[in-house]
Amino acid sequence: MLRYTVRRLIQLLGVVLVLSLLVFAWLRALPGGPASALLGDRGTDESRAALNKQLGLDQPIFIQYFKFLGRALTGDFGNSTGVQPGDSVVDIFVQRFPATIELSVFAIILAVIVGIPLGYVAAKRRGTWFDNLSVGGSLIGVAVPVFFLAFVLKEVLASKLGLPSVGRQDAIGATRVTGFFVLDGILTQEWDAAWNALKHLFLPAIALATIPFAVVFRITRAAVLDVMDEDYVRTAEAKGLTAQVVRSRHVLRNAMLPVVTTIGLQIGALLAGAVLTEKVFAFSGVGEALALGFERRDYPVLQMLIMVAAVVYVVVNLLVDLSYALIDPRIRTR
């Protein structure tokens, strides 16, 4: 187990290094650059060249890369040029990552608390109108593009229900502790701040949750159907265990394996979905910074965030693999 974890971590390091080179070279291969983004239509060729020189962007790319690596080793990943100009990208990440996590966690919770019970019930009542309706609904969930759903949610729900449609919180002077606004509000007992932040989470989380919800639902349904036909379930029922025990210990527990895998993979996909959702809802997370970074050719921000996204993806996959062991003892012993 330990050796396995260590091997995976070393693998991770390799992935990060190769990826950093790729991202670095690839960003600089894009036409334009920070100089034209910074100077805009007021720039001249001369002023852009001077700026590139000052920023070291006129040097050969491998020299730039080694300088970057050297600084990165000391924890300096550069400063933003376009998203939050002048701020260290580490600070930007630290400020914005909690927003993305908060949003993703909320979305995944929504997806799971709706998806798993619904999947279970649909499987139990296979072929009924309830089953058909939920399967149809989940299809729509997968099919509707996030940007469209986000738009509709805002046009319809935000105005009708008075739910806020942009940002993470109104300017209510909340105290910042962890960067997770809901948690901060609870910790400092600024209940209005927590509630306000929660309201801001609602619409973007629904938009973000639709696809994971649909996937979780369908996998749960399929897995439960699978497990229900197993001999051990019949045996458990035959030896007179209560329906509740059969459900929780025999059916659900065994059906959860593929579901957990899916949730893990969905967390990776959520980060991708967050780029769009955050942009549409002006939710100041990592996704919004990525979108802005591309628009404004903010190399340091893009480098940092793309790398982090990749690392998160790999780490989540590792955690999923490890969690198998917790759920299924047979894997642990192997």
């Binding site: 036409p31 334009g32 034209s36 046009e155 739910l163 109104d170 400092t188 549409v280 979108a291 802005l292």
Partner: protein
């Protein structure tokens, strides 16, 4: 059963651990709010404005972007300002000023009893401290990208690498400052109304190391003054910038020298997405935002919002690069292009209400505007015959247009390109369409003379003609490659001479003459249109005067 009991115990332990750590955390997580409960965001005195991007910093001297300037305008005052709704200079921290007859020495009489937000008195010494600070920038501070407005308007720094417009400043008495320039220029003192040249507290500048800009890696870092301690004399003081929540809060300056604002707080909320800004206004999250897309104006008005249209203070032009297709060096060919483009139709169909055809490169509100310039009415036949005369009937042009951008003068580059290229084809000109992202190669290609023709424009900073045609053609090495023609250098020299003519009336006459020449003899590019940008606010918001310079002050704003 045994197993499930251990499992349950494990769960209990986990829950216990979580609650203990939550308690521990909450013990060290104190609310900073104190007893003030007015911060609920719903107090009548908060005006929330939707910004399209994060301000670069809060020290306007180093700012180059509209987002920074908008915030700075509320916290700072200049020696001069602009009369609301116009581009004419007006007194602000200076009550009056007078130049010497050679236009080199300027004497400013200052307003008395003015204090900076940190209590430092505003006086002649403070004025000179500001001028000296600008002039004595070092290292990264002298970069075009950092001190762009200074470099554009004053030229070089104390290091002498480039000649500087500024020579010296002295305090004649507490309320009289004398500024000496190295040459006479039409820009002065108008430029002192630009946010970049706002008066900042000398004490705070020193205390927070304001000049310590560093080029680091592939970006710049700014000192604490610029990020957290901007200190001016304006109606609002800096409150906080909550980066995690993308909001900037300014608070009322109770010691403001002028009429104090009714608002308690002014909040800028950063919403980069245009549609998101519109929806935020509709759902009541913000009270207004800048630059609504022209296509939305009607809808917003119908929904009861107040779309305030600014006087047009920009120009969109059809750029011609004489270093491109060699035929473009022929005046007849350039005139043919001017006749071929149906600008009347373009303005009607592609630009917002209030837009006008541009007959020259400056709008009417800029001094030096000539009424009787050569006009090029739409005339395909004339275009064709001019092309034939020039032996260019088979003309093919590389026509560049930018994607991923809207500019106040160019709401939809793609549609504008479509209209113009259609017109050109009607005149028998072949168009090779090339598009590049604005920040992704378009601007660099234009300045590296890659296109034959292109779309671009300008938004003025001041009402001096030099800020417009001086910027375009003041150096023969420009994006139009006017240096390729013999008149390129003449035009540049004439512009320089005009700018340094001290007498205002004489100067405007010279500019009128140049504008006429540009349109008849040179035609280095074709001015297309002046289109008014707008801002939109809720109907109960009062006190905003739309400014051609986007110089709106929120101090007089009230709600309800």
């Amino acid at each position: 059963m045994l197993q499930s009991r251990t499992a349950r115990r494990r769960w209990l332990a986990a829950i216990g651990l979580v609650s203990v750590s939550a308690l521990a955390l909450s013990a060290c997580a104190q609310s900073d709010r104190g007893t003030d409960s007015s911060g609920s965001g719903k107090v009548g005195g908060t005006f929330t404005f939707g910004a399209a991007g994060a301000p670069k910093l809060f020290d306007p001297f180093y700012a180059t972007d509209g987002e920074t300037f908008r915030v700075a305008r509320q916290m700072f005052n200049g020696l001069t300002t602009f009369k609301p709704g116009t581009a004419e200079p007006a007194p602000e921290l200076a009550e009056s000023w007078s130049p010497s007859s050679d236009g080199l020495t300027w004497t400013f009489k200052l307003r008395q009893n003015v204090k900076f937000h940190d209590g430092t008195p505003f006086n002649a010494e403070a004025v000179c401290a500001n001028f000296d600070r600008w002039y004595n920038q070092k290292g990264a501070g002298t970069s075009d990208a950092v001190s762009q407005y200074y470099v554009d308007n004053f030229g070089g720094f104390a290091d002498g690498a480039k000649p500087s417009l500024y020579k010296s400043c002295s305090a004649k008495d507490a309320n009289t400052a004398e500024v000496v320039l190295t040459s006479s220029t039409s820009k002065f003192p108008d430029i002192l109304g630009l946010p970049s040249f706002s008066m900042q507290s000398p004490t705070a500048l020193k205390q927070y190391d304001a000049d310590n800009v560093q080029a680091q890696g592939d970006s710049f870092t700014f000192p604490a003054y610029a990020t957290d301690h901007p200190t001016g004399t304006g109606p609002f003081k800096f409150g906080s910038y909550d980066k995690a929540n993308n909001t900037i809060e300014l608070v009322r300056n109770d010691d403001y020298w002028g009429e104090k604002t009714k608002l308690d707080k002014l909040v800028f909320r950063i919403i980069p997405d245009e549609t998101a800004r519109k929806q935020a206004l509709k759902s009541g999250d913000i009270d207004g935002y800048d630059f609504p897309a022209a296509a939305d104006w009607e809808g917003l008005k119908k929904d009861g919002f107040n779309v305030q249209i600014r006087p047009a203070f920009n120009v969109m032009y059809f750029g011609i690069n004489q270093a491109g297709n060699p035929k473009l060096q022929d005046l007849k060919v350039r005139q043919a292009l001017a006749y071929a483009i149906n600008r009347e139709q373009l303005v009607k169909s592609q630009l917002p209400e209030g837009a006008k055809v541009a007959d020259e490169f400056i709008p009417e509100t800029v001094g030096g505007y000539a009424k009787d310039v050569t006009k090029y009415e739409y005339n395909v036949d004339k275009a064709k015959s001019l092309l034939a005369e020039a032996g260019a009937s088979d003309l093919t042009l590389k026509f560049y247009w930018p994607s991923e951008v809207t500019r106040p003068y160019m709401p939809s580059p793609k549609d504008i390109f479509g209209a113009i290229s259609g017109d050109l084809e009607k005149a028998g000109i072949k168009v090779e369409a090339i598009t590049k992202p604005w920040n992704g190669g378009y601007l660099t290609d234009v300045d590296q003379h890659v296109p034959d023709v292109f779309l671009l424009g300008w938004t003025g900073d001041t009402g001096s003609a030099d800020n417009w045609i001086g910027t375009f053609f003041g150096n023969p090495e420009n994006r139009f490659s006017t240096g390729k023609s013999p008149w390129g250098a003449t035009l540049a020299a004439d512009l320089k001479k005009a700018d340094s003519t001290p007498d205002r009336d004489a100067r405007l006459k010279v500019y009128e003459g140049i504008n006429k020449q540009i349109m008849s003899e040179y035609l280095p590019a074709i001015p297309i249109s002046h289109s008014p940008p707008a801002l939109v606010v809720k109907s109960d918001v009062k006190g905003i005067v739309p400014s051609p310079l986007t110089d709106e002050k929120f101090g007089p704003v009230s709600k309800g």
